[in-house]
Symmetry: C2
DNA sequence: ATCATTCTTGACTGATTGGTCAACTCTGGT
DNA sequence: ACCAGAGTTGACCAATCAGTCAAGAATGAT
């Protein structure tokens, strides 16, 4: 039961791998890589620790598998920005996609945040190559829009970073928001409208 | 060498406590509470592990001491918002104070971020009481400004959260920004101007 | 110079960590 | 019903963890 082999997965393999990754996501996203333990993940998954290590080579392999799945879906919303689209609509749609990801996959967002806080040791390659290239490409698109006077003249890099910060914030700092706003509050309430207003006014010519 | 006693600190005590807290900040802010080890902190501080425990009761006492120092300075910039000041200037000054804190104390920001990501178990009390009360107070001030038509009509809660997200972002995700923007870049370059533009346009009536 | 106090640490402990292994049970094709 | 391979786990291991302790070294007031 090693890494990627050509053998087709059995029904049991599919079920247990999913159980493990689901449990690991819960634990890693809350405690980070070093703070998480295999015993905790095993307990959360309802499996024995040796059984975990039957499906994954070691602790890092589980973590790597989670990050791999995550990074794919992380690029998609940014990649979907259409250079030939209506500039303001494209950017606002990107904001909307990102905040929906924070709402639907908050633990994935926190897993990512934990990794960055630790200096991104395990995804440095991804960030320096794929993410960097994609950001450079889309920043050029946005710069073009600004120079053509179709949106306000803002620094594209800061714009992209601010979109990340504002959207992921709702997932990463959800605990704080709930505590500050009270027990019966949903941090996402009004978030989409607020961010649409914010970026609309920022980009208006 | 226990907790808070009335005894005055000696020269050696002051020096070593500072060494320990400095080292602990470095380690805790990168790995979180559970991911950090006393051996690591001891090595970073250049002291032996038993010596660490001569100055602090246990691992948690070191962490608590760091957070305690932090939370004091965390409230100050928000508290400084003057209800009788010029609304837009007050809010922009707050943004400026926050981003300067991110620039000057990035590790403190990451320590805080780590704590929130883990569900804020050790500062839940602080958030639910002091921070919550202060946020409610300042949100009321901002709401008053909006209703008086002195700034645009935005949700004060979302406004405050977005200021936190955008400013702390430069410290918490600094590693990612450096990797995306290249080796010779300073993430803070242009950040202050960008945020001033962003919030100016958001709040303009 | 004396000496009580403060400071320091090597050697330790029991608990927990990631990971192994041999023996076991279950599954599905025949 | 059989059985080869897939799946499972109790018992274990070495390493690391937070924390203890007794004994020694440095300090500073007299």
């Amino acid at each position: 039961m090693n890494t990627a082999s050509a053998a087709p997965l059995t029904r049991i393999q599919r079920r247990n791998r999913k159980l493990i990754l689901e449990a690991a996501l819960e634990v890693f996203s809350q405690h980070g890589f070093r703070g998480a333990t295999l015993d905790q993940i095993a307990a959360e998954a309802g499996l024995s620790k040796p059984n975990l290590l039957y499906y994954f080579d070691n602790k890092e392999a589980i973590h790597r598998s989670l990050l791999g799945d995550l990074l794919d879906s992380w690029l998609a919303p940014l990649r979907a920005i259409d250079p030939d689209g209506e500039p303001r609509a494209e950017i606002l749609a990107y904001v909307r996609r990102k905040i929906q990801m924070s709402r639907d996959f908050p633990r994935e967002s926190r897993l990512f945040a934990n990794e960055i806080l630790q200096g991104a040791p395990r995804i440095e390659g991804f960030i320096r190559t794929e993410l960097r290239a994609l950001v450079a490409e889309k920043a050029a698109v946005i710069r073009g829009w600004a120079q053509a006077g179709r949106i306000a003249d803002v620094d594209p890099m800061h714009l992209i970073f601010s979109i990340w910060a504002l959207t992921q914030n709702y997932a990463d700092f959800e605990a704080q928001m709930r505590m500050v706003r009270g027990p019966h509050s949903d941090p996402f309430d009004g978030a989409e409208d607020y961010l649409e207003t914010l970026f609309s006014r920022l980009l208006a010519v």
